[in-house]
């Protein structure tokens, strides 16, 4: 099925493959993203994969928009572009207490124990659908449906960096201190965004994440290591 190509002013288009959170739709977005990255297109500035569409930003003066559209349709038609091999992250998380202030209430709301919530949350493999909102903020799919929970009525004006949280059917790892109405279950010492480190960003769209519960006593050591620029989260290519 051909995507819809929607105008975003004169300097960008949105190539839309669907309107839902859907792994197959996201896979097509990432395949087109990878395909465009392999080609040198005059005027192309950057692409931004999202849940369901690829934002393509270009210089309106230097770009032949009709040629770009034609290229996008032909690349989308081939479908199975060899997308890059997936990276699987193991991300340590301290759940509950001061690290996840909403865990107890969240568990009570679902008539589960905190341990059951932790088991359900860390038992899933999440897909990074996109990075957005804030630098390095990872939007995750794959949440256990039992944990789906509407956002808080009153968003907090400040939530800590590296919060591991749930909002609706989505899960996330945050990157910087920010306002949020999501439920805070835990916190990871791993820094998704760290300007002084190489790589600056840990996660990319298409990556997979598995959370690994760790004891609160491990925080100080791991946090210090992360502050020195170590990744703390481990990564393997699948």
């Amino acid at each position: 099925m051909a995507p819809r190509v929607l105008d975003c002013g004169d300097g960008a288009i949105s190539v839309e493959f669907g309107d839902r959170v859907d792994a197959a739709v996201n896979a097509r977005v990432l395949a087109l993203d990878a395909a465009l990255r392999d080609i040198d297109i005059p005027g192309l500035i950057e692409t931004v994969p999202t849940y369901r569409s690829l934002l393509v930003c270009f210089d309106p003066v230097a770009t032949d928009i009709n040629a770009l559209r034609a290229l996008i349709f032909s690349l989308s038609a081939t479908g199975e572009h060899g997308s890059a091999s997936a990276r699987r992250w193991r991300v340590p998380v301290i759940y509950g207490g001061e690290f996840g202030v909403d865990l107890a209430e969240f568990a009570a709301r679902h008539s589960m124990t905190p341990d059951e919530i932790i088991a359900a949350h860390s038992g899933a493999i999440y897909r990074v659908y996109m990075i957005g909102f804030m630098p390095g903020f990872a939007y995750l799919g794959g949440l256990d449906p039992r944990l789906e929970t509407p956002r808080r009525l009153q968003p907090r004006l400040k939530t800590p960096a590296q919060s591991v949280s749930i909002g609706g059917a989505q899960a996330a790892v945050s990157s910087v201190e920010a306002p949020s109405g999501w439920h805070l279950l835990g916190r990871t010492p791993a820094r998704p965004f760290m300007p002084a480190r190489d790589p600056i960003f840990l996660f990319g769209a298409g990556d997979e994440i598995q959370f690994e519960p760790i004891a609160a006593t491990e925080w100080d050591q791991l946090d210090a290591a992360a502050a020195r620029g170590e990744m703390v989260a481990s990564c393997e290519t699948t």
Binding site: L6, D7, C8, G9, D10, G11, A12, S14, E16, D19, R20, V21, I45, E46, T47, V48, P49, T50, Y51, R52, S53, L54, L55, C57, P60, V61, I65, M130, I131, G132, F133, M134, P135, G136, F137, Y139, S175, V176, F193, P195, I200, F201, G204, A205
Partner: protein, 339 residues
Amino acid sequence: MSDLIVESCGASTTLQDAGRFRYRRYGVSTAGAMDLHALARANALVGNAHDTAAIEFCLMGGAFRIDGGSALIAVSGPGCIARIGAREIEPGMSARMEPDDRLTVGPVRDGVYAYLAITGGFLRARDMESLSVHRRSGIGGLPLVAGDRLPMADNPDQPLRRLPPETRHTPEPIRIVLGPQNDLFTPRAIETLTTQEFKISAQVDRMGCRLEGPEIEHADGFNIVSDGIVAGHIQVPGDRQPIVLLRDSQTTGGYPKIATVISADIGRFAQSPPGSAVKFRLVTRDEAVEAAKEMREKIDALATLARPVEDQSAKDMLFAANLIGGVANAFDFEPRWLD
């Protein structure tokens, strides 16, 4: 090496260049000058490339000194007057600052954003390939505060330059292109957006501008699965009052976007002060691209237009001179500098 020292400035005074690109996929906003044409004017007057980082003022000006050598500086921005000591810098002209001179930049009286450029630019480390400050994330640093010292490039003996005055912004409608989610709005919503007047509310900053006016009605709900955002997008949340997203906007968002301000007009839109009225006019994508080309040519032309003062003919000098200071401005005669 010499420094520019900030003596005082408004809370939203930042360093900005043309923006930060290629990091949007990691959630990093482009940031960058709110009015690229005004940035280019200040840079042209000091012999810089059009996208060299300059100090951006928001409504309020500031006061500066230099420590070390002399510097060639220029200020641009609607209705913004700068002085070195008690001497007013002629609008559209660069000026030389010596150690112990005090530069005061006045408020931006006829708009929102003004720029202070310096020959060679500021010697700061780039953050992700740009000097632009994104306040919310701290990328590129923080807004300037009193006491900050900005190292300046050594200033070769650049001549003073002069530009023809900026033609006053006529209140022409801001041009927009429909999309990407105009199909999620009623035909009446599009009619309203393109015919009615809106007011720039007090809720406006580098991230976005909330408009007040008639309601823009959605055809069916207002939650979409988040997708990409660019500067100029006009998103309409549940309260039906449109928000125009600007350079510091988040990279993705979940409200439908009815239309997008064209790139050639986004700087002019950003210069609309809170409380002012704005109208939108629908154009085709081709017209938007044509306007982008015209804007690019206009910016490119500044480099040759900003001629060293010494090179100007006697006639030019006569036009440029303020012959009847305090009564009228010679520039009001609109000399045809391009001829």
